[in-house]
Amino acid sequence: MSDSTAIAHSPHDAPEHGHEEHPAYLRHHFENVEQQADAAGFAMWLFLLTEVMFFGGLFTAYLIYRNWYYPAFVAASHQLDIFWGTLNTLLLISSSFTMAMGVWCAETRKKQGLVLCLVLTFILGIGFLGIKTIEYKEKIEKHHVPGFHYSLNSFLNPDTDEAAVKAGDKPLPLDMARHTEVYFSLYFAMTGMHALHMIIGIAILGFMIFRAQAGAYTAGHVTFVENFGLYWHFVDIVWIFLFPLLYLISRHANT
């Protein structure tokens, strides 16, 4: 911060300078507010690009194994509860809406509205994680978590499994049934990485609610809210891809 005082003493002939008072949030190395906002937004998009590559590795793995072990992926996807999945999708889309409203409130300097939107987004995010916990718990109970305790029962004897009966699954050969573990490996890796992003997002939201109450984002400097909004929408979009890939696309295929 002491840098910004130094700049005030040095002579400035550049046309952008000297005419108007700088807002306090203009960091010393930018010429003007537009340049600063531009740079921050561009940086956020680049960061999201790295996130795309990060999840891209997982999607690649999903694509390959789905092609190799199609019957296993179909049978395993029947084990997911479409009700919870749909509800979670709704929660997340709503949270994206409240977040977008929050950005709008910040831009139009509506402090109460911003705080309300952030709180709503926070609650919806927590709700998503809560439902995810219910789903994970079910997987643990049915021994569908990959690793030492993984059980093939639902795929070798689908008659004994409620979800498999409902989907009309036939028993898989042992060789193929074992590959359901790859599906659940990817399920946990993908939804787990997504949930981790949610947790980070919710933590930042909590911090933002405090700052918003202090009026930090409704005084014209909205870059942080905008960039966080982009992050939140990105996490939402990842789920928009995960939901059909993991829950939906094999719904009506029979093995």
Binding site: S2, D3, A6, I7, S10, P11, H12, D13, A14, R27, H28, H29, E31, Q35, D38, A39, A40, F42, A43, L46, F47, L49, T50, E51, M53, F54, F55, G56, G57, L58, T60, A61, I64, Y65, W68, Y69, A72, V145, P146, G147, F148, R178, H179, E181, V182, F184, S185, L186, F188, A189, G192, M193
Partner: protein
């Protein structure tokens, strides 16, 4: 070697400017909480040097073990750990951040006429991540090490070894984020922070090279991050993405890993090429021949670099058609590298060449990188690759590119910009000696390894048949010379901090904007935002500028 372009101010009257980025604020905290790209570059330089010497010490141990055919210095397990940690530290904690995080950090805003990188806090964060990753890596070394090789190949890393794969993976993961943030910062800065008149094709080629490398950092690193996460999940909770007993495919790990780690070699070499473009122009007193071609060849290397990763896997069981395609693509990436070498050579043609230390290192780079690059073509050809892969030929090849190429470029850059960073010259004679010693030591160390490789000596073994001993003794002797070559700069550069001659603004008569401001620069780089009204490497502009100065002073 009597001719020189060095022009220093009168030493009896010259002083280091009282106010500069080093003296602006004092105290440890002013460094640890700084947002100044130049200070962060200095922090990086110190920590990088530390890791380089740890990695170097491990290399010394490897060469000492290989002095004799038997495994006498250390147990084979220990040897595995030593070469693994050498690779991990040198790749992730030295080579990847070397030029970008130090010279790039210091120079890109100066070269663009900006006051700082676009995101100073992110820049500082990237240094902290680097240090955190580095400390974790050293911790893993102290608590038992890791022996998978720096490639963490599955299923070895997931099932068969019980060493610190997790913590090392985490260290690499963290360092990866540091690299992502550096690259991201550079791209944003280059797009948004250029001074008036600084069009894309007036940027120094150093900046172009960093732009290309940054693209690779931003797009490649997250992929290795997810690969490491999956390895970690496989080791901890036992998911089966890479586990063949569960239907996973270990080859997928290699695809994900090399999707980053092949572009990573361009992350390492491209910034080095940027340094060479600057030094070759300055010490030939000529604009870089084919500026546009050199600029685009950097981008071309970055783009092609993403489509050649499977040439690391020719013998791993990928299909013959994949081998064919990746072999062809590998040949393709040699083209932009060759464009650079040829253009630099044409820059030398009819130039007024002088042989200051940075130029000596530059010549070292050009020779060694060419050999390293050409042997890469041997390895990109699947027929010869099947014979040569996993032998010392590979080891020699990538050390020629990484050590002979990148480290030479790094040292060229450090010497070239040392007067700018510190305000003082390094001692010329002894540094020329160091450059020559490094070159000789390097060739003694790694040239025999090409021969060892073609004779069939496999890499990654602590022992070898006695008939290979002569060449190995050569190699170890060379490594000793090389060690001296690297120790010398540490000594005399430290010495020069206090006793070096005052450099003045522009000791090399170079054209870049970074030379048109005081050395060491002010915290805000320029008193007045510069306006770029000429092409890059325009020596006539520099002459006119000097005449104007004389006229106004006179």
């Amino acid at each position: 070697m009597s001719a020189t372009i060095v022009s220093l101010p009168d030493q009896s009257t010259a002083r280091i400017p009282k106010v500069n980025f080093l003296t602006k604020e004092n105290g440890l905290l002013s460094w640890l909480l700084t947002g100044d790209h130049k200070r962060i570059a200095v922090l990086y330089l110190i920590s990088l040097t530390f890791f380089f010497f740890i990695g170097g010490a491990l290399a010394g141990l490897i060469r000492l073990e290989l002095l004799t055919p038997q495994t006498d210095l250390m147990a084979t397990d220990t040897y595995n750990k030593v070469f693994t940690m050498h690779g991990v530290i040198m790749v992730f904690f030295f080579l990847v951040p070397s030029v970008p995080a130090t010279l790039g950090n210091f120079l890109i805003p100066l070269m663009l006429g900006a006051k700082d990188l676009a995101l100073p806090k992110v820049n500082l964060l990237s240094w902290y991540l680097y240090v955190a990753g580095g400390i974790l890596a050293i911790y893993t070394m102290a608590t038992g090490g890791v022996d998978t090789g720096w490639t963490f190949t599955t299923p070895l890393s997931t099932h068969y070894v019980n060493t610190n794969v997790l913590t090392t993976g985490l260290a690499v993961f963290i360092a990866g984020f540091s690299s992502i943030f550096t690259g991201l910062n550079f791209i944003v800065t280059i797009h948004k922070m250029r001074c008036p008149g600084m069009t894309w094709f007036r940027m120094p080629l150093f900046v172009w090279a960093h732009y290309a490398a940054s693209i690779l950092m931003v797009l490649g690193t997250p992929v290795v991050a997810i690969a490491i996460v999956l390895v970690a999940l496989e080791r901890t909770i036992g998911i089966g993405v890479f586990d063949p007993t569960k239907g996973g495919d270990p080859l997928l790990f290699q695809h994900l890993f090399w999707f980053y780690s092949h572009p990573a070699v361009y992350i390492m070499i491209l910034p080095g090429m940027g340094v060479i473009s600057e030094t070759i122009s300055t010490f030939s007193r000529k604009r870089v021949f084919g500026y546009t071609a050199v600029a685009f060849s950097s981008v071309a290397i970055a783009v092609f670099g993403f489509f050649v990763w499977a040439h690391h896997m020719f013998i791993m069981g990928i299909s013959n058609y994949a081998v064919l395609v990746f072999s062809l693509l590998t040949m393709l990436v040699a083209v932009p590298s060759a464009i650079k070498i040829f253009n630099w050579t044409f820059t030398l043609y009819k130039g007024s060449i002088t042989f200051e230390t940075p130029m000596l290192y530059t010549f070292g780079f050009m020779g060694l990188f060419t050999i390293g690059g050409l042997t890469g073509v041997f390895l990109g050809t699947s027929g010869t690759d099947i014979h040569l892969t996993e032998t010392y030929f590979i080891v020699a090849h990538f050390h020629f590119v990484m050590v002979g190429g990148m480290l030479m470029a790094f040292l060229a850059g450090i010497h070239f910009w040392w007067p700018k960073m510190t305000g003082r010259m390094y001692p010329e004679k002894i540094s020329q000696l160091a450059a020559v010693v490094t070159f000789i030591g390097f060739n003694f160390t790694f040239f025999p390894q090409f021969i060892l490789g073609t004779l069939g000596m496999p890499r990654r073994y602590a022992s070898y048949p006695p008939e290979f001993q002569v060449l190995n003794v050569f190699s170890t002797a060379g490594a000793t010379i090389l060690g001296v070559g690297y120790l010398l700069p540490i000594l005399y550069l430290t010495w020069s901090l206090k006793y070096g001659e005052i450099a003045g603004n522009n000791p090399w008569q170079a054209t870049g904007l970074e030379w048109q401001t005081q050395s060491p620069p002010l915290t805000e780089n320029f008193l007045v935002t510069p306006i770029m009204d000429h092409e890059a490497y325009d020596y006539e502009w520099l002459e006119n500028q000097k005449e104007k100065e004389v006229a106004s002073v006179g």
